[in-house]
């Protein structure tokens, strides 16, 4: 059988959900960051798939994807820096233990 748009969409949906699951369930901040990147990658797949199948003439989706990658990189950089600061503060990056402020 040939690959259709739906396959890509399903793949991206699955990836997105895995990422979401990880982001909500993991306890290590770095892993959560990675999961978020995973979600963004899933979105990129959707974008490119759509662009390829819906509007083959234009490259809108691909361009969008490039920008997403850039933003994701920046986000990861800031994220790592912040996690670093947290680690310096309290030799630990388990997000379930990070609840100084509540209620």
């Amino acid at each position: 059988m040939s690959l259709g748009l739906e396959h890509y969409l399903v793949l991206s949906a699955v990836l997105f959900s895995i990422g979401l699951y990880g982001a909500l369930a993991k306890r290590n901040a770095v892993i959560i960051l990675m999961c978020i990147e995973l979600m963004l990658v899933a979105v990129n797949i959707t974008l490119i798939a759509f662009s390829r199948y819906i509007v083959p003439a234009e490259l809108t989706g691909q361009i969008f994807a490039i920008f997403v990658i850039v933003v994701a990189a920046a986000e990861a950089a800031v994220g790592l820096a912040i996690i670093l600061a947290i680690y310096r503060n309290r030799q630990d990056i388990d997000v379930t233990k990070i609840n100084l402020m509540k209620w």
Partner: protein, 632 residues
């Protein structure tokens, strides 16, 4: 004919004096100088002159209304337009005169009463603002503009009742007053919105037109009117929301005088009168007004019978008189209700000033510690008695005329009529109880901080205003002897029940009420002056009633229970003392405590776990999606 700019001045002048006092005098002038008082007094005298002029020109104006060009305040494209307009008719003019005059008298009096108080400048600053907002409320031409000043009045009363905020009781009384009246304001706001939603206008004159022509009718009108009446109930301390007024005694006595006579509480009555065409065209609303009024009248009077603090007695009498006014509005119409307000303003202000000067001399408000002041303070005594006779409704003093009109018009509803009659008796009784306990018998030593063992008359600056008010308390009633007042306010309907000074004696009702009042006075005389009957014996005789009145129908106890409940909640959740909700009263306290309870319960949701937050977001998204696919 008065130029309309001057009408603007009437309520702008006190505002200017507020600015001057707050920003120039208070920071820069030293404590001793009394220039702040003179500033306000000057402003008010001019306002008074202008108000009188306004009244004069209103009387001559065609159908008693002055045209005032409007300024567009807020224009919302495709939406509403708010005019910064004034509505100047007979009602406005009369109220303007009353407020400016009474306020002026009280300010003069305060020069004596407040001298040397550390907050002297602050006092006059707030007083200016207070008077300004009341005047603004009176001249306001649309409901939003009115609501602004309505809120300002509430705010100022909060500041003035809590004037001596170092007394916790004062701070709490202030908060209580503020929040209880806010409950009423909420009703007011909803009423405004209902009316706006169905008419698309906030303009009072237009609303009148719509109501009279019957465009605005049915349940919409009824609910709108009742909503507005709720606001009035809150402000003028009618039955369910009356609890704040007796506690509002914590402020300086002149403030109480102003609040009780012309400014704060009369705002509610004025509001109903101002919107009267709406009430007139919805019988249900009108009946509500009448019933609430009648009930309040007797209810408050009965509590006045046993209070021992002279200011509390006066407070209950105020509530009861306001009940009368509402009753008058509900059964008779604008003219009757407002006429009573008009007279009441003078003698009630006088009574409070008298109480103030008594306190000035004896250093207490507890009547059991006074007595025998008749000889020591002749002026105070004379004026106080005049005011009491007037409030008791003795011919030919002012109280007689307005009260009898109300009673007569109440004949329509027999039950209310009976209540009114009983109230006449009670009023006479408790007023003269106060008179005899304060001035009769021998001096009983005064309060702990009494100035000296031998009290003496107050300085002239305090006596003169009292005399001036006394004169009006005698004669102000004569205005309507032949129904001029009624013709002026009544929009055509002529409410002249009496055709002359001596005409009442040709009729049954006046006799009846006079006899009842006389009996009340006689009883008070017998018990408290001549001691023919001992109060204690009487008290024991009517033990259940007595204690019922003394404990204010256990209303406060009822509220206490709510408070107790909240205390329990606090106990459950611990460390609650931080969240001060003392002084918030009754229902309000219930609401507040339940809200606090909810807050404390809900905040557990905020666990500080960011992943739970994320989960919450996800669930929210799904909830929205499903909501759309199943309900959308």
């Amino acid at each position: 004919m008065i130029p309309y700019q001057f009408i603007w001045l009437i309520f702008l002048l006190p505002f200017f004096s507020f600015l001057i006092i707050a920003f120039f005098i208070r920071p820069f002038v030293k404590q001793e100088s009394r220039i702040a008082g003179y500033t306000l007094i000057a402003a008010l005298s001019i306002s008074l002159a202008l108000s009188v002029w306004t009244l004069a020109s209103v009387m001559t104006a065609p159908n008693h209304e002055l045209p005032v060009p409007v300024i567009n305040w807020v224009v919302i494209e495709g939406g509403v337009t708010l005019h910064l307009g004034l509505l100047v008719d007979a009602l406005t003019a009369v109220m303007l005169v009353v407020v400016t005059f009474v306020s002026l008298m009280i300010q003069i009096y305060s020069q004596g009463y407040m001298r040397g108080d550390p907050g002297y400048h602050r006092y006059y600053a707030w007083m200016s603002l207070f008077t300004m907002s009341m005047l603004g409320l009176i001249v306001a031409g649309n409901l939003v503009f009115m609501f602004v000043f309505w809120e300002l009045v509430g705010l100022c009363s909060y500041l003035l009742i809590g004037f001596w905020f170092h007394k916790p009781s004062a701070a709490n009384a202030a908060k209580k007053a503020f929040i209880v009246t806010r409950v009423g304001d909420f009703g007011f706001l909803v009423g405004i919105l209902i009316l706006y939603m169905n008419t698309g206008t906030f303009d009072i004159a237009e609303l009148h037109e719509l109501a009279i022509t019957g465009v605005l009718a049915g349940s919409v009108l009824t609910w709108g009117a009742i909503g507005i009446f709720a606001g009035a109930v809150g402000k003028s301390a009618q039955f369910p929301l009356h609890t704040w007024l007796p506690d509002a005694m914590e402020g300086p006595t002149p403030v109480s005088a102003l609040i009780h006579s012309a400014t704060m509480v009369s705002a509610g009555v004025f509001l109903v009168a101002r919107m009267f065409p709406l009430f007139e065209n919805s019988p249900a609303a009108l009946t509500t007004v009448a019933v609430i009024g009648g009930v309040t009248a007797i209810f408050a009077a009965s509590m006045g019978l046993v209070a021992n603090d002279i200011k509390r007695v006066l407070a209950y009498s105020t509530i009861s008189q306001l009940g009368y006014m509402m009753l008058g509005l509900g059964t008779g119409g604008v003219a009757i209700g407002i006429f009573h307000l008009f007279n009441h303003a003078f003698f009630k202000a006088l009574l409070f000033l008298g109480a103030g000067s008594v306190n000035h001399a004896t250093g207490t408000f507890d009547m059991r510690l006074m007595g025998g002041l008749r000889r020591m303070m002749p002026w105070t005594y004379a004026t106080f008695v005049i005011a009491s006779l007037s409030i008791a409704g003795i011919w030919p003093l002012s109280g007689f005329w307005s009260k009898d009109e109300i009673v007569i018009s109440a004949l329509a509803q027999p039950v209310l009529f009976v209540l009114a009659m009983i109230t006449v008796f009670m009023t006479a009784f408790y007023m003269f109880r106060a008179v005899f306990m304060t001035f009769g018998g021998e001096y009983r030593g005064g309060g702990p901080e009494a100035h000296d063992s031998h009290p003496h008359e107050s300085p002239n600056v305090m006596v003169v205003p009292m005399v001036a008010l006394a004169v009006l308390a005698v004669f102000s009633g004569l205005w309507n002897v032949t129904g001029h007042f009624g013709a002026l306010l009544g929009h055509g309907e002529t409410h002249g029940f009496f055709a002359g000074l001596f005409h009442p004696f040709t009729q049954v009702l006046p006799w009846l009420s006079l006899i009842l009042a006389g009996l009340g006075i006689l009883l008070a005389y017998a018990i408290y002056d001549k001691k023919w009957v001992s109060a204690e014996r009487l008290g024991r005789l009517f033990r259940p009633l007595y204690s019922l009145f003394l404990h204010k129908y256990w209303l406060d106890e009822l509220y206490e229970n709510v408070i107790v409940k909240t205390v329990l909640l606090r106990g459950l959740f611990g460390s609650f003392e931080r969240f001060d909700s003392r002084g918030v009263d009754g229902v309000v306290n219930g609401v507040a405590s339940s809200a606090i309870y909810g807050g404390r319960a809900l905040r557990r949701m905020q666990t500080g776990q960011l992943q739970l937050y994320g989960l919450f977001m996800g669930i929210g998204i799904l909830a929205i999606i499903f909501a759309i696919f199943f309900f959308g």
